[in-house]
Assembly symmetry: C2
Homo-oligomer: 139 residues x 2
Amino acid sequence: MAVNTQFSIAVHIMAGLACQRGRNITSATLAASVNTSPSFVRRILAKLSRAGLVETATGKAGACWLAKDAKDISLLDLYAAVDAPKAFSIHNYTEQKACPVSCHIKTALQKALGKTQKAMEASLAGISLAQIVSDVKQR
Amino acid sequence: MAVNTQFSIAVHIMAGLACQRGRNITSATLAASVNTSPSFVRRILAKLSRAGLVETATGKAGACWLAKDAKDISLLDLYAAVDAPKAFSIHNYTEQKACPVSCHIKTALQKALGKTQKAMEASLAGISLAQIVSDVKQR
DNA sequence: CATAACTGTTACTATAATAGTTTCAGAATG
DNA sequence: CATTCTGAAACTATTATAGTAACAGTTATG
């Protein structure tokens, strides 16, 4: 577990908020469900808040709730919000002038992997938070 | 640079082999192009060899070469060969019995992310090593 | 108005994946 | 039989991430 799991935690959090809509939920409540510390939850929550996906209240009756309807939030929104790393990363190295592959592979890779990244994001865009919630409730 | 770059290095290596087809290439030559150690190249090369994508010769005139035509090798083949990590990983946590989200989000996520992973792999399957090589040569 | 309870943020530690190196046994060529 | 390669194992260093702790700022409430 050293890969980035913030995305899936974000989905978990948002599904929780969607299920409990209306009630005031604290980071501690969410942390219990995700099984991590409230602080970590808040860190992710802050990103979601900056992205306009959740709203929060500070102060004593502090809480958080969805900023929009679950139907109008896609997994791509969450992916972008938590700023998860790209699916692929290109190795960096100093170009060997004598070698055409070494000089040009990077551009070729960027082109190819950009396409793949787009395909992935399109798939994420097609899944709404509402669908996830419905899946969760069906069980 | 702590994310997995083996995939892009594998593409680099394979593009090199495709460009120099026929010549006998050693891990040291490839390492110079990628700008890493021959040993690291061999580690990746070994995976590609196990996957049937390259063939190697041991002994003094040791070398390696493509096992198939570049047209018949897709980026998905390379992706599978180096056993790159999945695009998403799901956080693991102990289920909170009282919380339906905590209990069922994992299955819902697996379903959704499985779809996304498939989309990504389909995109990779559509790009051949030959295309990469052609991109590299065009510059 | 004082207290309690929350958020937002920063700073820190621990862990785990990965890159990269070193080393050596085994194999084939000349 | 010496040279030079692969294959593989063992090791270190680096870095992203998870996770924790601490605290200032904010607000509801008695």
